[in-house]
């Protein structure tokens, strides 16, 4: 009898402790499994970024399962597919939906892949959840099954002009409508969509002056001197330059040779000036240009909302545990941030039935600072998350590193070299 009472007491204590521990995380342990498809280019020329995105998904998946109660109370698991090109990615999307039986597919990061993958998913009546590809056409096809958590190319243009009008203009001692802008871009759909949306907003909302029609070039061009000579003639205050890869390095070297002086250079995206390769190429000589990206060094996480702080910290710790690095890559941030919003949507919908899921996604309304990267959520009817909610950050090359400089309330760093001085004095 005495033993039985002791056993009951011990059981009660253990139960109370277990409940307290579970309560401290605010979640119950997931039971059962919920499988989604993950599509990334894991072979071929896009594989480097594809693998980073997959790693970001895996880190966030493990975090969701271990600390945030899984999705819809179940453990989240992946069926992974490799889609190195549009044909392969469409075929893999079909396989994931038909053979693996998934109702939701997420991927594919690249604008060359997301269209084909989402069309294939749509044919199988599966939900397609894009976390990175920025082609504006993705959400303009009246497909009810597609959603995108990241802003599109036009959103990048929107943010660049926001930064120029609301930060650079007063730092340069000018009103936005006094600024003279030159537009230069590589000629992909990404470059053109960012440039055209920036032009439109700059002119219509802020009355900025365009010094010449935009100049588009193939990113594999071998000489940018003729363009630089034309830019020198137009004498702009700001150069809005969307570069792809090595063209940023070529432009910067030749601009220096030609002593092309401009007050600021603004880029968007994890290409061109937004790649680590640009800093490695020039070291301190890279100082000055801005790149719109996910948050980098200098971010003040305490400025996020409490729920955003919690998931951001947990994600950063998990990435560091996995990679050993304090600095997150864009691939990790986009994949992690996008998968987190999918978890919120599934938890709200409690089902993967397309109509109910879509209704739940469209009713999500979370302010900036609520999630990973400080993102908020507000999807439109096309399935696109809102520009203003998907908070983006302006980073600047400072002494060999890209550091966060804007919005100033989110960062400890401040933008330097405004206006850009002579080439040898940007130290």
């Amino acid at each position: 009898m005495h033993h039985r009472r002791s056993f009951v007491m011990a059981l009660a204590i253990v139960t109370v402790i277990a409940l307290a521990v579970a309560g401290s995380h605010g979640q119950q342990a997931p039971s059962g499994e919920y499988k989604i498809g993950v599509l990334q280019p894991l072979t071929g020329p896009l594989a480097v970024q594809g693998k980073l995105h997959l790693e970001g998904y895996e880190i966030m998946r493990d975090l969701i399962n271990s600390q945030f109660g899984g999705v819809m109370g179940k453990k989240l698991v992946f069926a992974v597919g490799d889609g190195p090109d549009p044909t392969a990615v469409a075929s893999e999307a079909t396989r994931l939906a038909t053979r693996e039986g998934v109702k939701i597919i997420t991927g594919t990061f690249s604008s060359t892949l997301c269209g084909a993958a989402s069309e294939a998913a749509s044919r199988q009546n599966a939900i397609y959840w894009e976390t990175s590809c920025v082609d504006p056409r993705f959400t303009r096809r009246n497909l009810k099954n597609v959603f995108r958590t990241e802003i599109d190319g036009t959103g990048f243009g929107w943010y660049n002009i926001e930064f120029i009008a609301k930060h650079l203009a007063h730092r340069l001692g000018k009103k936005p409508n006094e600024l003279r802008i030159a537009y230069l871009s590589e000629d992909s759909s990404y470059g053109q969509s960012v440039t055209e949306s920036a032009r439109q907003r700059a002119k219509q909302e802020f009355g900025m002056q365009e010094v010449a029609p935009p100049e588009y070039y193939t990113f594999t061009t071998n000489d940018l001197t003729p363009i630089i000579l034309k830019l020198k003639n137009t004498n702009p205050d700001i150069l809005h330059h969307i570069a792809r890869d090595q063209d940023a390095i070529l432009f910067w070297r030749q601009a220096r040779e030609q002593n092309f002086q401009v007050k600021a250079v603004v880029h968007a995206g994890a290409t061109g000036y937004g790649t680590p390769g640009f800093g490695k190429a020039f070291g301190n000589d890279a100082n000055g240009p801005f790149a719109l990206l996910e948050p980098g060094p200098g971010l003040i996480i305490e400025k996020f909302r409490p729920e955003g702080q919690r998931v951001e910290r947990a994600f950063r710790e998990a990435v560091k545990a996995k990679t050993g690095s304090d600095v997150l890559t864009g691939g990790h941030q986009l994949a992690g941030g996008g998968l987190w919003i999918l978890k919120l949507a599934l938890d709200a919908a409690k089902t993967d039935d397309l109509d109910k899921f879509r209704a739940a996604v469209l009713s999500l309304d979370l302010p900036v600072g609520s999630g990973v990267n400080g993102w908020g959520v507000k999807f439109d009817e096309a399935g696109q998350n809102s520009n203003a909610r998907v908070q983006h950050y302006m980073l600047q090359w400072q002494n060999g590193s890209l550091v966060t400089v804007w919005p100033e309330e989110f960062t400890t760093n401040r933008a330097k070299w405004i206006p850009l001085g002579p080439w040898d004095q940007r130290k």
Partner: protein, 292 residues
């Protein structure tokens, strides 16, 4: 119009194209093989310069001395393993083989060094000479000088050395050359190896000017093909002049009409010249059928 700078840019860019085109035209001129892997050998040489500089702190101009015998050996090896078994087969087989070699080399580079663009930043990367109102990048000036020297050296080699004469004899009539006791396989091996050594030198000289990545060769080699055909297949001086013509159209067209039009402009010129002179500016009519 900043005419002096446009002329300077034309000379410097044309020098780069010529540097790549001379090896290509040599291989085509003697072997009648269009080497679709030429750009990938260029890319490998750029990586050799990059890693020599990054790991051993070797200046690219020092690496240039090593790269010539190194890429001659690479050329000899690739001929023995890949080209020799198919040298007497149809053009289709040769095209597929060199395209296959190109894809293999690109993907090996991708696996070994990732897709990241890497730039060899020497202390003098930003050094530019100013002359007559134009700016000349130092590394590009060296590349231009080497292009002229290399073309002249190859021209002299083909014209006045015994090996050069043997190579020309083989180019003119492979069967007659064999009947005269010339070891045509050995001639082809030398030709291929010299062509690859030339592009090896080009790659090392380009490394301080352009970033290197696994598909870096593609952006140069298409224009090199245009220069080779425009100059006349197998004609080295023709390739040099055609490279300068293509560069002039590209640079001046970019400035006057717009950069988006530059490919349209030089390809229109290319088509126009071939309509009037099917053998190219300096080529002999029917050169493409020689040696077969």
């Amino acid at each position: 119009m900043p005419l002096a700078q446009l002329i300077a840019s034309t000379l410097l860019l044309g020098g780069i194209y010529a540097l790549i085109a001379v090896g290509l035209t040599l291989i085509f001129g003697v072997m009648r093989v269009v080497n679709f892997a030429h750009g990938e050998f260029l890319m490998l040489a750029m990586y050799v310069a990059f890693w020599s500089f990054s790991l051993l702190h070797a200046d690219p101009y020092l690496t240039l001395i090593v790269s010539l015998p190194l890429f001659f050996a690479v050329g000899w090896l690739s001929y023995s393993v890949v080209m020799r078994p198919i040298i007497h087969t149809s053009h289709n087989v040769q095209v597929f083989t060199t395209v296959g070699l190109s894809i293999v080399l690109q993907n090996v580079a991708l696996v070994l060094w990732t897709a990241d663009a890497r730039f060899l930043r020497t202390d003098y990367y930003a050094v530019a000479l100013r002359f007559a109102g134009a700016v000349f990048n130092w590394a590009q000036l060296v590349a231009f000088a080497v292009a002229v020297l290399l073309t002249a050296a190859l021209f002299a080699f083909m014209r006045w050395t015994y090996t050069g004469k043997v190579m020309r004899a083989t180019a003119q009539d492979r069967q007659a050359a064999a009947l005269m006791g010339i070891d045509t396989n050995r001639v082809y091996a030398i030709t291929w190896a010299v062509g690859i050594a030339c592009v090896g030198a080009a790659g090392v000289l380009l490394a301080p000017i352009y970033p290197v990545y696994p598909t870096a060769g593609l952006q140069f080699v298409l224009i090199a093909y245009v220069a080779v055909v425009l100059g006349g297949l197998g004609d080295m001086a023709g390739a040099l002049i055609a490279a300068l013509v293509v560069a002039a159209v590209e640079v001046i067209g970019s400035y006057v009409v717009g950069t988006a039009w530059k490919e349209v402009l030089y390809l229109l010129l290319f088509i126009g010249i071939l309509v009037v002179r099917p053998a190219g500016l300096f080529g002999q009519r029917g050169a493409e059928a020689f040696g077969s």
